[in-house]
Symmetry: C2
Subunit: 418 residues, 2 copies
């Protein structure tokens, strides 16, 4: 066993033991840990900001202002983190829910009961608050977590972790419920990804490079999405005003989030009357375009799309545009170019909407609403730890419920199978 | 790309396309395919048995009688396969179920809807009927499947596959919904396990060697269990007659199935009066024992257990026995030695039973019933494709519902996130 694997084994053994106790802790105890950790964040706010200043001072000069901003903690941001923990404490308990219950003719009573997943590895990048948010969701859902933040934020991560440990200790829980990797050594990340015995799930949260590395290297199951190449399809039956309003939000509300629309598919029948308005609306907000030939024959000022453009997640003020002949062609386009994340249809015809929703292979599909609603908060989950596009377990926003699995409880009075 | 990978890519591309159409096929069409395949099995019964005879003739002489029996198809077994397909057709449709539904204050209506997983790789060993059963469950649940049976049963597998194709064709579905690997070449299995782009889930069904190889090599998610090292814990409050009756079934009904009890944990308080009877009951059926020192101080004829015995899945008429001091010690033993498959408690005290059920980390936990109930049929699932002990997605018996995941459908009237 390599040094890194041995270090990981030490962490995961402790995590497994802590998780076993945490899984049985009642809701009040788990909430106490969260509320006490929130108090500890507030009490140690100055120390956390000072640790963060160390991280900022160590940043290489070529880091962008945006990166520096994501890394920065202020007293206000520490307070927001503390408030976030208290908000998670207020969410309904995801454990012990009876997901299904039935009786068999032999009198056996079957129950499917929500239980924690076990030990979660959380790998994230520059924003230090992600560590606190993830730890809160894991504690509430009865899971132990091993956190690995960005190498640039190690001091911040340690200071935040210390507050989580204070909270756990105040509630009489094992501090090993929340652990951080002891150094920024990248071989430890590799060992975490390989620790199939000790870790039940890896959640990477960050850019595409990070997520793809994790998906490639992990032997542990991964809950993630690499791309959000989302489409909004405007059907011929669409209400034109609604289509314009929704498109503007779907593309431009925030262009850098994974729920942003990247490609507009618009029906040939409605494009001549509607597309010029959509283009004007978006251009007025600074959007640029990559359009197929049919779209360019309608709005001649649109620049041409290359073949690769329809496979590109822009995360920017750029919209790919293709004209299609009806819902089947739209679905074909999405099957070829989509990333199974989020799609929307704008249509008044309910049969068309149903055909579209039933024909997509994506985690989230919206009818007459903006793709930017793909977000745990907007779903009413209270908080999310990420968004998943895999087919196993959870898809779409991952909240507390999705951090549980189930066991079967079978209640008898001496039944034998005979 | 290796030759094997290229062959696999051809199969998975076809499977993906077929799955997309199958996912949208209505229930009547999927049932028609199953019923027509059942008819095709019956119509081709003689040809299937003849193909099976070729397989049997090719068997090396050192194969056991049990292996030969598992491989053998008779007209009766073909009829049973056909009946199995018809039974699956009668099960409720697992697709389109609304798993959850809620409305947000902005008027958006959220629905979590059951959809197929996509493309499934099924790897099994000698029993050829597993291919038909798995294909039936996959068709009904809208999944395409690529089958890989044992190398010894290739002719049988091809003959059964031909009947599945007849059924699919009769229903107007793509025959690529059910494919088999074109040869027994083991590099094709390796390529299947690596095909993370083309396959959504691998289900291995067979011995521990097969399952462990799959779990080790697969880059695709795996739904499986390697071990069923199951415990029955007899608490001091147990009804002694019930304990005897249940133990006899749990250990001896069928010793070779994964739901058999392998270890008896019995409370110190009840062991002196009860253990001798349990041992007598089981010994009368041919069971032998490996007992810890305390158990041997009560029943002196019991042979001693080695340290490894409590980590051994016997799959035979052998029972490990340990005496424990209460439920916590029983849970500790299970946490150290169990395989997260199935555990049972025999107890009259409901608080103790709840503590046991809540304290186990296993997929299935029974109160006052035999561990041999861990079976999709006994759960009322109608059929099962396997039993899973992982923490992701499905645990316990895997039936039709567990071959689905979900998507979110979000219904609006022009909402933007703003």
């Amino acid at each position: 066993m390599s040094d890194a694997a041995a270090i990981l084994k030490g962490l995961t053994d402790k995590a497994r033991q802590a998780a076993r106790v945490l899984a049985r802790a009642d809701e009040a105890t788990r909430n106490l840990a969260l509320n006490a950790a929130a108090q500890a964040l507030r009490a140690n706010s100055a120390a956390i900001v000072a640790a963060n200043e160390q991280d900022l001072a160590g940043l290489s000069a070529d880091r962008t202002a945006a990166f520096r901003d994501r890394l920065t903690l202020t007293p206000g941001r520490v307070e927001a983190m503390a408030k976030g923990l208290e908000d998670v404490a207020k969410l309904p308990d995801p454990l012990g829910r009876i997901l299904a219950e039935w009786e068999r003719p032999n009198g056996l009573l079957f129950r499917r009961v929500a239980v924690p997943l076990g030990v979660i590895g959380m790998i994230y990048e520059s924003r230090p608050n992600v560590g606190a948010d993830a730890a809160a969701l894991c504690i509430k859902s009865g899971n132990a977590v091993i956190l690995r933040g960005g190498g640039e934020s190690l001091n911040s991560a340690r200071a935040i972790h210390a507050a989580m440990v204070e909270g756990l200790t105040a509630a009489g829980l094992d501090p090993a419920c929340v652990q951080i990797l002891p150094s920024a050594d990248r071989t430890l990340v590799g060992a975490l990804l390989q620790a199939a015995e000790g870790v039940d799930l890896i959640i990477p949260r960050g850019g595409k490079t990070l997520v793809e590395r994790v998906q490639r290297e992990a032997r542990v199951p991964v809950l993630a999405h690499a791309d959000g190449l989302n489409h909004t399809y405007v059907h011929a039956s669409a209400d034109p005003e609604m289509a314009r309003r929704v498109l503007l939000d779907a593309k431009m509300r925030r262009t850098g989030i994974c729920g942003a629309t990247e490609t507009l598919l618009i029906d040939r029948a409605i494009a001549p009357s509607l597309l010029p308005h959509i283009v004007d609306d978006l251009a007025a907000k600074g959007c640029t375009f990559r359009a197929d030939e049919t779209a360019r024959s309608i709005v001649s000022t649109l620049p041409p799309a290359s073949a690769a453009d329809f496979d590109t997640e822009w995360l920017d003020s750029i919209l790919s545009i293709a004209v299609v002949d009806g819902v089947e062609e739209a679905l074909d386009h999405i099957a070829r170019h989509g990333s199974a994340h989020t799609e929307a249809i704008i249509a008044e015809d309910p049969e068309i909407a149903a055909a579209f929703m039933n024909g997509t292979d994506s985690a989230v599909v919206l009818w007459n609403a903006s793709t930017q609603f793909c977000d745990g908060g907007e779903f009413g989950f209270g908080a999310e730890i990420g968004i998943a596009t895999g087919r196993m377990h959870a898809r779409g926003p991952v909240g507390l419920e999705q951090l549980t699995c189930y066991r079967y409880e079978v209640l008898g009075n001496g039944q034998v199978r005979g």
